[in-house]
């Protein structure tokens, strides 16, 4: 691989205003943002918009159903995936480039983007590797420029990178129509149709495809228009694309476009073709941005999960937690897009490690669903970075026939996320008290509530005010992903936004914010109440799964 470090690149990076999209709130909203008042525009493009680009020539031609689940495609040669759900286009005049988040099974520890630079009617692919520290990532999150970005960036040409065949080569089954998204496959006993690409399996790195059993006598492929009959239950299978592509080379892979649209005339995905030695001598590669002084940087989900946050997640224990709540907690730890570690990282790119024990508190002396406080030593002194979340058995605990109105799983997840954020607030207090470097400047900036006396006379209220201002969205995303099992595309659904607000419904900010109307407040309280006792409250029916 060739690493470009010439001085032209310096200029290229000095000119752009780097718009950094780091989270789904921004990522998934196709909201244009003019970052240079004269001419540079960056935005997240939808899959349809991506396919509509002339250089794409119909790539990613997938069914409507696929679009709901297909977010990642895997490159065998480079052993990473790109996220199609969060693609940034950077436009300036007639020029545009594309930035895809790069996801690796084994995190590289660095933010990486697949960068596509227009060339000869197609694109030249580059891997952009950003050596950003925690402060840089925080700046990214806040949409600020990263200092000295040039010195932190490697530009790596991707020889033989063929985006057209990412994750599409499949030979496990004999097929009747050539592999494509509309092919039919016969495994000797049954007929199958390709249903969707689920993603890359986190444990094996294999692409996970979903097929539907097809029982029609003609075994005709489904049209996708709703007229198909005979589709049986969906099945999953894993396809190791790495070995297949690795042995056959990109030439073989490039012929497999089938019905997905083909490479397109004049498209240069792989300037040298399979015969190119791929050592950087290919004249098609060079400075990817020469004459085009714009670049977009988009965060990937791995960069949004710091090592400390992972450690914090690991340190969340639940020895005295009721069985149902413990199961909810474990599920929150393994969400795809907004697990606990990512939520914490979202709050703070470099949080101090802390312990959090969650327990169901018998004979609770509080009436809230839960509280978060400090662990104390035998002398009654608070222990730094050691917290306890206490759950009220009136809400938590197991439902019984005599006492059926315990909180359902969705409410428990909502409360756990809410209190985990409180625990993080506690850690910020400890950061300042123990003199964690930079804590006053950077941590307090992240936690406005630390300057509680400027917010108001109530630390708890201040914390809730900060949550209302900053964290309702991320809470809603996590809650929705928990309940649906799917990362949130675009805005979270209203019901989950309502639940995130529900945890703030007794805080002063709930009544004073102009974000909510009187009607919103009633709906939110009823929704929150309905899930908390798992029964209808006014017109709000609980949607969470009961704890049995």
């Amino acid at each position: 691989m060739k690493i470009i470090t010439n001085h032209k690149l310096r200029l290229l990076f000095l000119l752009p205003l780097v718009f950094l999209v780091f989270n789904c709130q921004k990522d998934d909203t196709p909201d244009d943002k003019v970052i240079n008042q004269e001419e540079t525009i960056q935005k997240i493009v939808t899959l349809d918009e991506l396919r509509g680009l002339p250089q794409m020539a119909g790539r990613f031609s997938i069914t409507k159903k696929d679009k709901d689940t297909l977010t990642k495609l895997y490159s065998a040669k480079y052993n990473f995936s790109i996220d199609l759900g969060r693609v940034m286009i950077t436009q300036k005049g007639d020029y545009h480039s594309l930035s895809f988040p790069v996801i690796r099974k084994v995190p590289s520890g660095k933010l990486e983007n697949l960068f596509l630079h227009p060339y000869n009617g197609g694109y030249l692919p580059y891997l952009m590797r950003y050596n950003f520290d925690a402060k840089d990532l925080l700046n990214l999150e806040n949409g600020k420029e990263v200092d000295n970005i040039l010195t932190k960036t490697e530009v790596i040409p991707l020889e033989d990178f063929d985006i057209n065949n990412l994750g599409l080569k499949m030979e496990t089954f004999g097929d009747r129509g050539g592999f494509g998204y509309s092919g039919i496959y016969w495994d000797g006993n049954n007929c199958w149709v390709f249903d969707s690409i689920v993603g890359v399996d986190a444990d094996t790195g294999l692409l996970v495809l979903q097929f539907a059993l097809y029982t029609g006598a003609d075994c005709k492929p489904p049209t996708g228009d709703g007229s198909d009959t005979g589709l049986g239950p969906h099945y999953f299978m894993l396809v190791d694309l790495r070995s297949e592509l690795g042995s056959s080379g990109s030439g073989g892979a490039s012929s497999g476009g089938g019905s997905s649209g083909g490479p397109g005339v004049g498209t240069v995905w792989n300037p040298g073709g399979s015969s190119n030695p791929g050592n950087g001598s290919n004249p098609g590669f060079g400075n990817p941005l020469n004459g085009n002084p714009v670049i977009g940087v988009i965060g990937n989900e791995l960069s949004a999960k710091s090592a400390n946050a992972i450690e914090i997640e690991d340190e969340i224990t639940s020895q005295n937690l009721d069985e149902c709540s413990a199961a909810v907690l474990e599920q929150l730890k393994i969400l795809t897009d907004k697990d606990i570690a990512k939520i914490i990282t979202k709050l703070d790119a470099n949080p101090s490690p802390y312990k959090l024990d969650i327990e169901t508190q018998q004979n609770a002396t509080f009436s809230n669903p839960a509280i978060t406080t400090r662990r104390q030593n035998s002398s009654g002194q608070a222990i730094r970075f050691d917290y306890v979340m206490k759950l009220n058995p009136d809400y938590f605990g197991e439902s019984t026939p005599d006492n059926p109105t315990k909180a359902n799983k969705l409410f428990r997840a909502t409360i756990l996320i809410h209190e985990i954020i409180h625990a993080y607030f506690m850690s910020l207090i400890d950061d300042v008290a123990t003199g964690v470097p930079g804590s006053v400047e950077t941590k307090a900036a992240a936690f406005d509530a630390y300057v509680t006396k400027t917010f108001g006379p109530n630390s708890d209220a201040s914390a809730h005010e900060v949550m209302a201002i900053k964290y309702v969205d991320i809470m809603a995303r996590a809650i929705q992903e928990y309940n649906t099992g799917l990362p949130v595309q675009g805005m979270p659904e209203q019901v989950y936004i309502d639940l995130a607000w529900g945890g703030l419904s007794t805080a002063p900010v709930f009544d004073t914010t102009d974000v909510l109307t009187a009607e919103d407040r009633i709906r939110i309280r009823n929704r929150y109440g309905a899930e908390s006792v798992n029964r209808p409250v006014e017109d709000q029916e609980p949607i969470g799964e009961p704890c049995k």
Binding site: S367, T372, T373, M426, A433, A463, T506, A507, V537
Partner: protein
Amino acid sequence: MKYYFYIVIIQILTTSCSAQKAEYDVVNDFLNSELDGFQYDSIHVRVQPLDDFEMVELYEKAYKERNNQNSDLSTVWISPELNEWPFNEEEINDLKKNLKANVKEWEKTDFRNKNFVFKTADIVEDMDFRVSHLGKGTKEYVLRVSHPVFDNKKTYALFKFYFTELFFGGSPAKNRGTVVMKKINNKWVVLSSIREAVYE
């Protein structure tokens, strides 16, 4: 003779009532200020008072840590900053020695606000009772308060205060915990409140 007997009885009652009212002026002055402009449909007063000992212990802990700049109790959980500490260590000890479990329950005559309703702890803390009020669209709250204690000159007073929403339990009030009051121009005003380090 009979006439004088009734006069004495009336005097006793009058004196008793006025003494009680004076003792609770500090609580009522506080509630007037705390609830000024606050919108509610019902406030349920828990008739069992909060624990006096816990109130004093919280004050004592804050007093000991008052000069510790690394104490988040002093930097975060006491608000506004408390510059007048009405009880020193010796006085705190005296307070603790003389505190008796105050079993007198709150009643209507103790409060100026005649809209308060009174409930026992086993009702107001009961989940079924709370659930029965869910979805009514009313703004209902629970007031829990301890009896006050005073310094010798009756210039300062402490009591514990915890005001929460009926069902969800969160506290919408400005103050919580041990409230430190001072009498200024014959009226009690809030100096500060000392909270437990708890997020709800």
